[in-house]
């Protein structure tokens, strides 16, 4: 069935979802605005919706288009959402072979590696942020990115006809650079790490007044991540899994997963205990794992050193929120080596047919490590969040997989290979 077969309310424009912005740190209250920082304490602002708004039933949601906007009552925008109405609702793929490998009852992959249009979960956050930018009348959008966000902002802005400035570390993977410049965005490579790029973009947002999706539009951007939790719940038949494992970079996804599960619980759309959340990082950049294992206190930033570039954020803004969400859920956090994440990519591919990027390798390797530690049980129903596509980081797969035979076009040579394989 095509998306066009589902009616979108308002002929392509979704109704307004009234909201204000509240500080997660001190609770101060602000009107909707393109600012993500509390004037009182500099804490992060996030939308709070009118508690009296009418919420849809399961049946009403199920009748809507298969996009993230089927949950628009839980998404903020000023004016009516009209851009990027076709992102989200990626497949939830059952993975019995992976379940056996992990020793759990059942396993699924939430497969954002096929997200439309840029093959990562960043399509979700950008879809929400661009509608916010349009609602506030911001005429240029921008981002600081480790790659996937760059691709998403460039593509969504091109469709919307908005100029886009993309700031990335100078040494980003070539595939991610290619998949940004092709859309006509102004891509700027910054000599430094992602954290340096972030700092620059904070000043850019202040100076130019652009809609920098993960700076001054961060309050809106982050809400898009909740839709992963909404979709998992609906796609499992309106129930929770027992475990969700997700990669952590800035930490937003894990904290928004917790929030999304909680919001559906509060809405009465689902019952039971929300899942235990497990966060995964690479050992070369694991400040949130360290914070979780330390049990609290200030986050200690690190200088990243890992091939998992999409997770290489040494000073994760939402790290404390992610650590809190993990602990509240009864979960934990683990870090894996670069060699383990490469094997994780291979395990995911051969057990599910899904080629995830380095972050997917981290998530899969973390699942294996959690299983080894006895943290996953045969009763568990586990969802792995695979957030990006392996074709963006092809160099990360184990080198041994590329050791392939070269032969003459002769049947005898194939027969020799087949005999060697059998033996």
């Amino acid at each position: 069935m095509t998306i066009a077969a589902f009616p979108l309310p308002g002929a392509g424009r979704l109704p307004v979802t009234p909201h204000r912005l509240l500080c997660r740190n001190c609770g101060a209250d602000f009107p909707a605005q393109p600012s993500a920082i509390c004037e009182a304490c500099l804490g992060p602002l996030e939308p709070r919706y009118d508690p009296a708004r009418v919420l849809p039933s399961r049946a009403q949601i199920a009748a809507r288009a298969p996009t993230l906007w089927r949950y628009h009552e839980w998404l903020p925008f000023r004016g009516a959402a009209r851009l990027s109405l076709d992102s989200g609702f990626t497949p939830l793929v059952e993975a019995p072979t992976l379940a056996r490998a992990l020793g759990v009852g059942r396993a699924w992959v939430k497969n954002d590696s096929v997200s439309h249009p840029t093959l990562s979960f960043k399509d979700r956050v950008v879809a929400v942020a661009l509608n916010a930018a349009a609602g506030f009348g911001l005429e240029t959008v921008a981002c600081a990115s480790t790659g996937n966000l760059a691709n998403a902002v460039a593509a969504h802005a091109a469709r919307a006809g908005l100029p886009a400035w993309i700031f990335i570390p100078f040494d980003l993977e070539p595939a991610k650079l290619t998949a940004s410049v092709v859309y006509g965005a102004r891509v700027v490579r910054v000599r430094g790490t992602y954290d340096d790029v972030n700092r620059l973009c904070s000043q850019v947002a202040d100076h130019f007044g652009w809609g920098v999706v993960n700076v001054n539009l961060r309050s809106y951007y982050g809400e898009g991540s909740k839709t992963v939790a909404f979709e998992i719940t609906e796609q499992l038949g309106w129930r929770f899994p027992t475990v969700v494992i997700a990669p952590m970079a800035g930490g937003s996804l894990v904290s928004k997963l917790a929030q999304g599960f909680c919001e559906f619980l509060q809405a009465g759309l689902v019952a039971g205990a929300p899942p235990r959340l497990y966060g995964a990082q690479a050992q070369g950049c694991a400040p949130i794992v360290e914070l979780v294992q330390r049990g609290g206190g200030p986050l200690h930033p690190v200088v990243p050193n890992t091939i998992a570039r999409s997770l290489a954020i040494g000073n994760p803004a939402d790290g404390p929120l992610a650590a809190h969400a993990i602990k509240e859920s009864g979960g934990d956090a683990v870090a894996v080596s670069d060699a383990e994440l490469a094997e994780g990519i291979a395990l995911l591919a051969r057990s599910t047919g899904i080629f995830g990027e380095t972050a997917g390798g981290v998530t899969t390797a973390a699942a294996r490590e959690l299983a080894r530690l006895g943290r996953l049980t045969p009763e568990d129903e586990v969802v792995l969040c695979i957030t990006g596509n392996g074709l963006k980081t092809p160099d990360a797969i184990p080198a041994r997989l590329l050791e392939t035979p070269v032969i003459a076009p002769k049947l005898a040579e194939v027969a020799a290979l087949a005999a060697a394989t059998v033996s």
């Binding site: 920082i37 972030n198 700092r199 904070s202 961060r218 986050l299 994760p316 803004a317």
Partner: protein
């Protein structure tokens, strides 16, 4: 030549609308004391009641996070640039 302090817009309101301030001091703590003497409300936004960095704020000395430079005890010299940056989401 004094040290330059760069502020985000959200904090400039506490410094008579200025996004750039000059300050004196041989450590970051001394620089912030100088700022706090002139703009007490701004000072309270830069360090918490225990004198620590707020969880959602980063301060850079030139291009380096002060947490890699000994925190507020970091030595500064004339011409250095101190930048206050609110936390930014991942990307």
């Amino acid at each position: 030549m004094p040290v330059t302090l760069q502020l985000p817009n959200v904090l400039s309101r506490l410094a008579d609308g200025k996004r750039t301030l000059s300050a004196e001091g041989d450590t970051l703590s001394a620089v912030l004391r100088d700022i706090c003497g002139r703009f007490p409300e701004l000072g309270r936004r830069l360090r918490d009641a225990h004198g620590e960095l707020y969880p959602f704020v980063s301060i850079y000395l030139n291009d380096e996070d002060i947490r890699f430079r000994g925190g507020f005890d970091a030595a500064v010299k004339d011409g250095d640039v101190v930048t206050v940056v609110p936390a930014v989401a991942g990307g």
